[in-house]
């Protein structure tokens, strides 16, 4: 049985600017079944980050509704985890203390020992064992992002919202982290919304890839990912993946208001 964990229904939102309202989302519908990984791609500045803030309950849409687990989202909820392009680790805390942070807020009564055990378990899963007492400034960019991921899921959120979490990393580190992300979900299933600019990333990680149109964004295309075989990076070089990537690229070009090259 799969119920829909996230339901975005007819969401329209505009920002107020000195030059009048700037519409970013228009009549957007997104549905993510429980346990699914939803990747969202679209042209720059099309309102993808607004989408994450709406799902996290940090903002209210002008029109439309966001539902999480059958409940209307009216404000921030404890059942959400967030990760950004900037790992935003607190420099005055060790890696372990950073990962524990959400537990201090969501589960203040949880014994310190249990919190630390939970954090250490996650750090081990992402390959950061032995670094728990280091400061963020002593870690590389990829390691910091790994720690940031641990922090985002330490309180076992229903949904993990990621806004270009791997965007600032080099290509090799990025592929490592895709694999880490995938392995993490094998062990701890959670529903995921990933905003990205990287089509290969969206295909490797996503169960569905949503292409948003240019601003104001609405759903332009939904790709159901049929990954050939196991989710390993090598799979990206198969013809099946090539076709999917090709389709996505065409759709992005349409979203950008260009004629797809294939049609020329």
């Amino acid at each position: 049985m799969t119920s829909n964990l996230i339901e975005i229904k007819g969401v329209t939102h505009a920002y107020k600017t000195p030059h009048g309202p700037l519409p970013v989302l228009e009549n957007l519908d997104v549905t993510v079944p429980e346990g699914e990984f939803c990747a969202v791609v679209g042209p720059s500045g099309c309102g993808k980050s607004t989408l994450t803030r709406l799902v996290a309950g940090l903002m209210k849409p002008d029109k439309g509704e966001v539902w999480l687990h059958g409940e209307l989202v009216k404000g921030p909820r404890k059942t959400v985890g967030m990760a950004f392009q900037n790992p935003v680790l607190l420099e005055w805390r060790t890696i372990l203390q950073n990962v524990i942070l959400p537990l201090e807020i969501v589960a203040p009564s949880m014994p310190k020992k249990d919190r630390e055990a939970r954090a250490l378990e996650l750090l081990a899963l992402v390959g950061l064992s032995g670094f728990e007492n280091k400061r963020p400034s002593e870690l590389s960019g990829g390691m910091r992002q790994r720690a940031s991921l641990c922090r985002a899921i330490v309180h076992k959120p229903d949904v993990l919202i990621m806004d270009e979490p791997f965007g600032a990393l080099d290509a090799f580190t990025r592929e490592d982290l895709w694999q880490t992300m995938h392995d993490l979900r094998e062990k701890e299933p959670f529903t995921c919304v990933l905003i990205t600019h990287d089509l290969r990333e969206s295909v490797f990680l996503g169960d569905q890839v949503i292409v948003l149109s240019g601003r104001p964004a609405t759903t332009q295309f939904i790709l159901d990912v049929k990954y050939p075989g196991e989710r390993v990076i090598d799979g990206l070089y198969t013809p099946e993946c090539s076709d999917m990537l090709h389709t996505l690229r065409e759709q992005i070009q349409i979203a950008q208001g260009r004629v797809p090259e294939a049609a020329e």
Partner: protein, 254 residues
């Protein structure tokens, strides 16, 4: 080696400075009423040691008291300006204007407002002259907090107070201590200003004034050096606090 570098090198620099000073006076053949030399100072200290002790204590406690008020008031003001755009727009011109007033002109104002309250006036002056950098740096530190830092806690439903104590406050600590180092020196200037300008003053400033009245030039220089020593002590007290509370901001030398 490390300890030698930390204490020995600065100490050596001071000795070199004293030698150069002595040489300068000696080479020019200046009498002590033009410029006293370091070798004149021990006499002044041994003769007036009790005045130095009393004066130093008075100067020190009033500076520290003024500084503490400046920290409280400056942090509060900085918080208001950091969290509210309207407050920032409203208060900034006022603050800058107040800071631009030469504080010497406020000595008679204070003296008339609180006649005879010498301690109070001195503490007030130390406070007024030193809260500005603290307010500005705390304000800037809070207003430049990246939204993501707030979002990671806000998305969990954390209160504004929790966000402030867990993130905003520790994140501004390095800026706060930077400002405090400036404020320490300023507070000293404030204290001494009142001590020197107002009649029947106390503290090292008053000792300086009486040395001047009595044409005891070596004593004047001795007071200046004593002030410098007090300044160094207070400054390093702040450095110690900074290491304790914001040591994480210091990167290991590479």
């Amino acid at each position: 080696m490390n300890l030698f570098q930390k204490i020995g090198v600065p100490l050596a620099a001071i000795v070199v400075f004293l030698i150069l000073w002595e040489l300068l006076v000696w080479a020019n053949g200046w009498p002590d009423y033009v410029m006293a030399s370091p070798s004149d100072l021990p006499k002044a200290y041994s003769k007036f040691w009790n005045l130095f002790l009393i004066g130093s204590w008075q100067t020190l406690w009033r500076t520290v008291a003024g500084l503490m008020i400046a920290v409280l008031f400056g942090t509060l003001l900085g918080m208001i300006m950091g969290f509210s755009r309207i407050a920032r727009d409203a208060l900034y011109p006022l603050l800058v204007g107040f800071n631009a007033i030469p504080k010497a002109t406020l000595v008679p104002v204070l003296a008339l407002l609180f006649i005879g309250q010498h301690n109070f006036n001195t503490v007030m002056m130390a406070f007024m002259i030193s809260f500005f950098p603290i307010a500005v740096s705390v304000g800037i530190g809070l207003s430049t907090l990246e939204p993501e830092y707030r979002d990671i806690l806000r998305s969990l439903g954390a209160s504004r107070y929790t966000i402030f104590t867990k993130i905003a406050l520790p994140k501004t600590l390095p800026e706060f201590f930077g400002a405090l180092k400036v404020a320490v020196t300023l507070a000293f200037i404030g204290t001494n200003l009142v001590e020197i300008v107002s009649p029947h003053g106390r503290g090292l400033g008053a000792l300086f004034l009486s040395a001047q009245t009595n044409s005891n030039y070596p004593l004047m220089f001795a007071v200046l050096i004593a002030l410098a020593v007090l300044g160094i002590i207070l400054y390093y007290a702040v450095v110690y606090l900074e290491r304790t509370f914001a040591g994480w901001a210091e990167r290991p030398a590479t």
